[in-house]
Symmetry: C2
Subunit: 375 residues, 2 copies
C-alpha cells in the first residue's frame, strides 16, 4: 500500500455564460457547475483516461488528501501511483454527480433565475443526465475517449449507462456491486428514506435552506441505508448484541452498540449531506432501467466496451443475480466480459472495503485494455 | 378449506381488584387486563390446550369471524374445525400481548394511579412478561398444561420462552420463522422504526393520546417493516417496476406500484396501531436472548417439550440459519425435534401465507403429541 501523501483539491468547472445544459426531461439548466478532481496526467494520444463514478453519498474526492485532512478520498486504496488505478500511467477523473450537494449543481444550488436555492424547483434528473454532465466536464478537460469507466453501486449504474449511451467513447467498463435496473426492493428502501425526509416538519416542501434542516428525517433515511450496506453476518460480527452500557436497562435510550452506530452514522450524515439531494439522487436510481421493459440482449447490441463485472457474495442490496443477467446479455452479444463474484462477508459495502482482490482484478483488466488501445 | 363462518369475539380478562402483576424488571403492574379469544372446548383431562402467540402487529383474533366483518382472524386457515389446529379436538387460546394496543394492558391503557394513559410511564416489558401474562390468563381459564404452544415471528419467541420458563407445562412447541435471540440486523431494523416514531414531532415523548397521533413516524416504521417481511423475489414478482401512472414523471409523487403499496400499508397501520406499543414491543424483541451470552446447549437442558421447528428458505429477516443453531442445541440435549425448512419465495411473511405445507406439518405433529399425552 502506497504511503504517498498526494495532496489534491476539488475544482469547479462552470459552463460558459449562456450555455444551457439539456436534461433528458427536456428541461434546460442554466449555469451548470461540476465539481471534480483529477489525478495523473492525460497522455498525448488521449488514450489513458479513467472516469471514476461515485455512489449515492460520496463526492469528487476519490483519492489523495485534501489540505488539513487526515482522511483520504473514498477509493484512495485503489487510485494512486503504483496502485490498481495507477496515476503514474492513467489520467483519472472523478466528479460530483449532477443533483448532488458537493459542488456540482443540485437542489441546494442557487437558481440564477431567482437568486435563491432551487429546492424542489430543481429539475428531476436521471443517471443519463449525470453521465452527460460528466461528458461535458470531459470535453472541457480535453478528453475525447475513456480507457475505462468504473464505479460501485450508483457509480456502476453511471458506468453502464456510459457504455450504452456513448459506445464509441468507452473502451472498457468496470461496474461493481450494481445493477442494470432498480428492483422493487431497491425502490422500496429508497422510498422509505424519501418518506422519512418528507415527513420531517423541518423539510417544508424542500424550502429549508437557511433555516432548520430536516435532520431527523435524513438521519432515519441514512440509518435504513446503512443496514442495507452491511450484511447480516458483518453486522453480527461487528456488533452482535454488544451493549453500550453495563447491562440492559428499561428505557428507550441507546442500549446496543448497533443502535449507537446507526444513530451516530445518521447524525453525522446530516452534517455533510443535503436532504433534497438525497431525494433527487435516490429518484434517479429508482428511474434507472437500462432494459426499459425491452429485451436486455438488444440494449447492448451496439456496445463496444470490454467489461469486468464485479459482485460480492453477501451483497443483498445489489445481489449478484442481477448482474449475472447483465453478463449473460453481454455475452450473447459477443462482448468481451469477465465476471467475478468476490466471496466477502461485507455486504454491499465490500466495494469500499475489499481492496486487495479488487486491486488485482482491476489492474490486470486495465493493463490489458490499455495495451489493446495502444498497440 | 373450511367454509364455516365461525363467529367469535374478543373477551377481556381483568385480574381481581388489588392483584399485582410482577414484571421481570421488578415493577408491579396494577389492574392487568388481557384480551383473548378461545376456540373449541377444554377437555376434562385438561390435555388439549394449544396456545397461539401472535407477532408484532397482530392481536388475539387468530381465527373465525367477528360480527360484521368479512375478514377472518390472522391464522384462520390453520385454526378451526377439521383444520390443522383442529378446534373439534383442541382448545385454542390466543391473547393480545402485554404492551400491545388491542385490549391487553399497554402504554395506551389508563394508569389506575393517575387516571390517564400511561404513555412512556408504562414499564418496559419483555417476552418473558408476555408469557407470564398468558400464564395468568390460562390460570383464569382453568388450563394447567399446554398440549402445544406455537407462533410465528415474535409469536415463536414467546413459544420458545414458554418451553424454557415453564418446562413442566409445555408438552410441545412449534416455533415458526423466528429466532432464539435477536441479531444485530434485527435490532437495527427495529431501531430505525423507533427512531422514525420518536422523530415525529407529534410523538411528544409518548404523550399524544387525545391529540394528533405520530402518524408519519409510525407509517415510516411500518414501511421498513414491510420490506423486511417480503423477499427480494416476492417483491419483484408482486411489483417489479410496475407504475401507478402511464409513464414515469419528474416529481416526487407515487410513481411505482411498490411505493404506493408501502404508503398504503403505512397509512393503514396508523389507523389501527399505537406508536408507543410499537416502541415497547420492538424493544421486548430486541432484548430477547434465550442464550443470554451463555451456552445455548445448557439453556435447553431442562426443557421437556417436543419441537417442530419451521423456517422458510427466503426469510431473510429471521433466516433459517438462526433456528438451525437452536435445533442443534435441542438435539444435543436429546430433545425430540423435527426441523423443516419450507421452500418459499414469500420471505418472512410465509408463515401467514404458506398454509398448505404448514397445515400438513402441524396437524401430524399435534396428533402425535396428543396421542403421547393421552395414551
Amino acid at each position: 500500500m502506497s504511503e504517498n501523501k498526494e495532496m489534491v483539491s476539488t475544482k469547479i468547472f462552470s459552463v460558459p455564460e449562456g450555455e444551457l445544459f439539456h436534461l433528458e426531461s427536456g428541461i434546460k439548466l442554466r449555469g451548470l457547475e461540476v465539481a471534480y478532481e483529477t489525478y495523473g496526467e492525460l497522455n498525448e494520444e488521449g488514450t489513458n483516461t479513467i472516469l471514476v463514478c461515485h455512489a449515492l453519498s460520496m463526492d469528487a474526492h476519490a483519492a489523495g488528501y485534501h489540505a488539513g485532512s487526515k482522511k483520504p478520498g473514498w477509493w484512495h486504496e485503489l487510485i494512486g501511483p503504483g496502485k490498481a488505478i495507477d496515476t503514474d500511467r492513467y489520467f483519472v477523473v472523478c466528479s460530483n454527480i449532477l443533483g448532488g450537494c458537493m459542488g456540482t449543481s443540485g437542489p441546494k444550488s442557487v437558481d440564477p433565475e431567482t437568486g435563491k436555492p432551487y429546492g424542489l424547483s430543481f429539475p428531476v434528473i436521471s443517471i443519463g443526465d449525470m453521465v452527460n454532465a460528466q461528458k461535458r466536464l470531459l470535453k472541457f478537460l480535453g478528453v475525447e475517449r475513456l480507457l475505462a469507466v468504473t464505479g460501485g453501486s450508483m457509480g456502476g449504474m453511471q458506468a453502464l449507462e456510459w457504455t450504452v449511451k456513448y459506445p464509441d467513447m468507452v473502451a472498457s467498463c468496470i461496474p461493481i456491486a450494481t445493477t442494470y435496473k432498480h428492483s422493487a426492493q431497491q425502490i422500496a428502501f429508497d422510498e422509505v428514506g424519501r418518506q422519512a425526509i418528507m415527513a420531517d416538519p423541518d423539510w417544508h416542501g424542500g424550502n429549508y435552506y437557511g433555516k432548520t434542516l430536516p435532520a431527523s428525517g435524513l438521519a432515519v433515511a441514512r440509518m435504513v441505508g446503512h443496514i442495507t450496506y452491511m450484511s447480516y453476518k458483518s453486522m453480527d460480527k461487528k456488533f452482535g448484541r454488544m451493549l453500550t452500557k453495563d447491562k440492559l436497562g428499561y428505557g428507550f435510550t441507546t442500549e446496543f452498540e448497533v443502535e449507537g452506530y446507526l444513530r451516530y452514522r445518521g447524525d453525522n450524515f446530516v452534517k455533510r449531506f443535503d436532504a433534497n439531494s438525497y431525494l433527487y439522487i435516490t429518484k434517479a436510481m429508482d428511474h434507472f432501467d437500462l432494459q426499459g421493459g425491452g429485451d436486455l440482449f438488444k440494449i447492448f447490441r451496439g456496445v463496444k466496451s470490454r467489461f469486468l463485472v464485479i459482485t460480492f457474495s453477501s451483497d443483498w442490496l445489489y445481489p449478484p443475480e442481477q448482474l449475472k443477467e447483465l453478463v449473460k446479455a453481454l455475452k450473447m452479444n459477443g462482448i468481451d466480459v469477465t465476471y467475478c463474484e468476490v466471496n466477502s462477508d461485507y455486504g454491499h459495502d465490500a466495494f469500499l472495503l475489499e481492496f486487495e482482490v479488487q486491486s488485482k482484478l482491476i489492474s490486470g483488466f486495465l493493463a490489458k485494455t490499455y495495451s489493446k488501445l495502444n498497440r
